[in-house]
């Protein structure tokens, strides 16, 4: 007796494999939105075309939900849209954008994280040196919500990224890590963390490598309002100058109006340590490879902060490709 193996419809297989996922494909003309998740509600492609606004709402689920933003053929129009993202109570979302931006872009993300929700944003973006690319993110966190924000980019002609974090309720947590690897490109990153409640915490790390004639600016502000006791906030920014004409400007700012806080900041930039490069070359490694090993070592501190193994691997690959 022979058993007949059932042939499952491809569409069903796809749905099972992607059951917690939603993908947004953009080609500058017609967006394609595929939503296989029962816990993500998202605007239709038609509404998105009309308004240029994408509304995404995520509700409580056992598994972490995923949204992938995928930019495809971008030969026609600049990318310009807004995402309104809402995580309901106890919702969990991982948002991944690992697109290569080959035209100008202007993306605005407005996020609200309700009680006990968890949001992880991974942006691993390559840009072209001739383009202008802007990204604005305004995120409000309510009680016991958390936001892990990882951003990797390689700069462009004008690359501007501004993130405003509003810690509005107790026990809200923000962990932000940014890496900018520039090779004769420019990068401006602003991170403003506003502690508007007591007992919230934030950690912000920024590292940059500037090669060729790159110019990198980082402006990091920690604001703690006068009623916000028991605040914990740390900020570290470090820059590595590789190119003789490259410039790095790190500006940490603390505005603290409460005494009962633990806040720190540190900023440092400089060239690779000559003794380290000599040590590596004295072992038979070429000057170029020694520099690359040095840069990878400098940036790899971030891998340890990424708990998600797949994303940590993606971050490693991004750094390997761009250094």
């Amino acid at each position: 007796m022979s058993l007949e193996i059932p042939v499952w419809p491809q569409e069903l297989i796809k749905m099972v494999m992607n059951k917690d996922q939603c993908s947004i494909r953009l080609d500058g003309v017609t967006p394609v939105i595929e939503n296989f998740s029962n816990f993500i509600s998202i605007s239709s492609a038609e509404d998105f075309i009309k308004s240029n606004i994408l509304n995404i709402e995520v509700s409580e689920s056992e598994n972490i939900q995923r949204v992938n933003l995928i930019l495809e053929d971008q030969s026609k129009n600049p990318i310009n849209f807004e995402i309104n993202l809402k995580l309901n109570e106890c919702a969990k979302l991982e948002f991944l954008d690992e697109s290569i931006y080959s035209i100008d872009s202007n993306i605005k993300l407005l996020t609200t994280l309700h009680k006990n929700s968890c949001f992880e944003l991974y942006k691993l973006n390559s840009y072209k040196s001739e383009n202008t690319n802007m990204f604005f993110h305004d995120c409000s966190l309510l009680e016991n919500s958390s936001f892990k924000d990882y951003s990797f980019s390689n700069g462009s002609k004008e690359n501007f990224s501004k993130t405003v974090i509003n810690l509005n309720d107790i026990n809200s947590k923000y962990l932000g890590s940014g890496v900018s690897i520039n090779d004769s490109t420019n990068s401006n990153t602003e991170v403003e963390i506003r502690h508007n409640t007591k007992m919230a915490s934030s950690d912000c790390y920024f590292k940059t490598v500037a090669k060729g004639s790159s110019k990198v600016n980082f402006d990091g502000t920690i604001f703690v309002d006068n009623h916000c006791s028991k605040t914990i906030s740390n900020q570290v920014s470090k820059g590595l100058l590789i190119g003789k004409e490259s410039k790095i400007n790190l500006v940490p700012k603390l505005e603290i109006y409460n005494d009962d806080v633990e806040c720190s900041h540190g900023a440092a930039s400089g060239q690779p340590d000559k003794n380290t490069l000599f040590y590596l070359t004295s072992r038979g490694i070429s000057k170029e490879d020694a520099e690359q090993i040095y840069v990878e070592g400098f940036l790899s501190e971030f891998f340890e902060t990424i708990e998600n193994n797949l994303m940590a691997e993606k971050a490693k690959n991004f750094i390997n490709l761009n250094t």
Binding site: L280, T281, S282, G284, I285, I293, G297, S300
Partner: protein, 242 residues
């Protein structure tokens, strides 16, 4: 193997080596002793091509090649190895990946394929066991947070993996306890061969009691003021440099 003639070297405009000449044949073991500031480390780093050391005049020939015309990378690939007195810490780079990279640089130069991960792991386990290096040290960043002894053993391990023709050891015995010194000295003795030369820079007799040098040179003011056999090291240990 190595011919140093009338070498003058400065560091930040301070002259350290004064008309130094030294000849080392293949298979010989030379020890360099001398008080602090006499130029022992300067000759070690000059041979390895450290750009902080400026050669004012003189010549160095290494296996018939003009060493001073060679970059540090080339010197290493041609078989020169300096074991550092103060090994450099490289945060963010695991020791295992670093060791594999340095091995593969040499293999590439020799026209060999990169060593496969499994073969490398096996080799690393064998060498680490021999040197009594805890294997988890290799998952830590290069020399970062290593004890003094671990750093020195890591230098000897690199030496072993790269199989150099000329080894220069800059105070490898400093920072080693009695047991670690014996393990390290045993490993170095294993590497002694008729095809390889060693230059051991040291302050103390204890390492030279394990590794018997053919020649001992006493440095003072950037010059060799006396040379002799291994009994010279015993005399210095007993009477000092005065």
């Amino acid at each position: 193997m190595l011919e140093i003639n009338n070498l003058n070297v400065s560091v930040e405009d301070n002259k350290i080596l004064n008309n130094l000449s030294l000849s080392i044949k293949t298979g010989e073991v030379h020890a360099i002793m001398g008080p602090n500031g006499s130029g022992k480390s300067t000759i070690a780093h000059t041979l390895a091509g450290n750009p902080n050391y400026q050669v004012e005049s003189g010549s160095i020939s290494f296996n018939g090649k003009d060493l001073l015309d060679m970059e540090p990378t080339e010197r290493s690939l041609d078989g020169l190895f300096l074991a550092f007195q103060y090994p450099i810490e490289i945060p963010g780079v695991t020791n295992a990946s670093y060791l594999r990279q340095i091995m593969n640089s040499h293999r590439k130069h020799q026209g060999k394929d990169p060593i496969e991960a499994a073969a490398f792991l096996k080799l690393l386990k064998e060498k680490s066991a021999y040197l009594k290096i805890p294997f988890d040290m290799h998952s830590r960043f290069v020399n970062t947070g290593f004890s003094g002894g671990e750093k020195k053993k890591n230098e000897v391990l690199q030496m072993d993996l790269l199989d150099p023709k000329l080894i220069i050891m800059d105070e490898t015995d400093s920072g080693l306890d009695v047991d670690a010194l014996k393990v390290t000295a045993d490993a170095i003795n294993q590497m002694k061969s008729k095809n390889r030369s060693l230059v051991i820079v040291t302050h103390y007799l204890r390492l030279l009691e394990y590794i018997k040098p053919d020649y001992v040179h006493i440095f003072q003011n950037g010059q060799i003021i006396e040379s002799g056999d291994s009994s010279l090291a015993s005399r210095i240990d007993k009477d000092g440099y005065e």
